[in-house]
Amino acid sequence: MPPLAQRNLTHDKVRLAVTLTGIVFAVVLIVVEMGLFVGFTVTTSSIIDKSNVDFWIVSKHTPYIEQGSPFSERKLYQVLATPGVASADKYIVRFTQWKTPAGAQESVQAVGFNPYTGIGGPWNVVEGNVADLKTPDAVMVDELYKKKLGVTKVGEVFEIDGRRAKVVGFTRGIRAFTTTPYAFTSFKNAQGYTNLKEDQTFFILVRAVPGTDLKALQRALELRVRDVDVLPTAKFSSMTRIYWMFTTGAGVAVLIAAALGLVVGVVVVAQTIYATTMDHIREYGTLKAMGAPNSYIYRVIITQAGIAAVVGYVLAMCVSFFVVRASQSGGAVILLPWQMAVGIFFLTLLMCVSAAVVSINKVTSLDPAMVFRG
């Protein structure tokens, strides 16, 4: 087929620019909204996902990580005595107060882990060392929250819940969905920072012996350790994500914004493709008069929409790349995993082709006898 679709699309440069701008705007909007959704979702459960354990043992009916309740640390020994358990560590995630030297108070989440095994500890450490957290009063925070917490460098001393806290390092990109920074520290320090009794813990992180039947181990743990829930890591992660993203409505709002982006995109693209079709309506009439079946003309219009979609998508991804990069240093990260990028490509294609349907309807009802009218 001669390149009628390509030429119709590129013939009017201003219209082409408007069409592509519309698509780019819509796609970037969708990337930002969906990227925020993915970013939020990943952020809500990052502590769980990065723990690299098989099970989280939590107090009964704990809906999400921030809602853990303390239970006796004796259960740790019951867990360790269960065949198939390779390791088990006490763990704390609990809101508490950070006090800057100027006296300002900021909420933080103390994350207490076993610095000797490193399980549940910080990742992406850019300054200092996880082993430094073995020392009394040592904490590590994310560099994103330096300003918020009044921290400028390693070695500075602050107060957490009235107790001494010395910054021994920084992580990069460990955000909290609640915007309350995590302060990684040893389990023992965290007990103090959160006023947890000596013989209590919030969670137990369990690693199974490699090759163990995890379902069987879960059943064994449930039988042996009473009044707790034994949750596979993926399940606890999903419970936490669902709570923050859907129960609170935060994720729904972002998803609605993404859907609105899609609607705006369809409207903008439909309008411009319709206008392009109307510009060439006499040519479509000529094609019909010459005997072209409707399917031939649909192909021209859909090819036009498809080319606009591909070019618009590529441009939008270039813009999105910078938006995603810029978000890395902000409080809310926008993530664009490759699966989402592929999904958005097909979404863009669908958006542009659906937008072309309006034009197709117009051409379907076109009377070829129009070619004889002046």
Partner: protein, 231 residues
């Protein structure tokens, strides 16, 4: 040998809201192969409607229309594009070229519709353009051509697939007298050398000498004063 077009007792009534507007009243009309027929008459006399019915663009309300011996009046709306594609070449008053395509691509598009593609389409397109004297304009855009040249491209396009019937709607109306004569000479050649039936709707008295026959229409009927032009 069947007539290129045979029209028998054709009527056409448009329905406009509650009103019935009759446009053609029992028209009988034949176009033989190798013949150029000039269809003339005042505006509103039904010439264009008759042309559209002969071109299978409009369906007659009643009557018979045969193209190369095949009855087409009874065909469904879906079947008509195929008949147009195979049997009829159109030439329009406003040329109706695709402005974004080159001259060669305009002809190739018509060939593509008829299933001729790739190198064969290019070769055939060049041959047709050479036939109308525009072999050197293959890559030019329609906007770079004069009116006469555009109409010659339209003729080349109409000839793609070698249809037996050429229907032209005011093909010289937008042309100067020299270009108009040129186009009409081609029409005549198409009929005489290639045995096509050519119908030209025209108001242009300058082209009378190129027709084999003039058919006058008035008020939706073939007027009695239809003339045979002596060779």
């Amino acid at each position: 040998m069947p007539a290129a077009i045979s029209v028998r007792d054709v009527t056409k009534v448009y329905i406009e809201g509650p009103n019935r507007v009759p446009v053609l009243h029992g028209v009988d009309f034949d176009v033989e192969q190798g013949e150029v027929v000039l269809l003339m008459g005042p505006s509103g006399s039904g010439k264009t409607t008759l042309l559209s019915i002969m071109g299978c663009i409009l369906r007659a309300t009643s009557g018979s229309v045969q193209i190369a011996g095949r009855e087409v009046a009874s065909l469904s709306e879906r079947e008509l594009p195929g008949i147009r594609l195979k049997n009829i070449g159109f030439i329009f008053q406003g040329f109706n070229l695709f402005p974004t395509l080159s001259v060669g691509e305009n002809v190739e598009l018509a060939l593509d519709l008829k299933g001729v593609r790739g190198a064969k389409a290019k070769e055939e397109s060049r041959r047709l353009l050479e036939q109308v004297g525009l072999g050197n304009k293959y890559d030019a855009l329609p906007s770079d051509l004069s009116g006469g040249q555009k109409q010659r491209v339209a003729i080349a396009r109409a000839l793609s697939g070698s249809p037996g019937v050429i229907l032209a709607d005011e093909p010289t109306a937008a042309l100067d007298s020299h270009s108009g004569r040129n186009v009409m000479e081609m029409m005549r050649e198409l009929a005489q050398k290639h045995g096509r039936g050519v119908v030209v709707v025209t108001h242009d008295s300058r082209v009378l000498e190129f027709g084999d026959r003039i058919v006058h229409m008035e008020d939706g009927r073939i007027a009695e004063a239809t003339a045979e032009i002596a060779a």
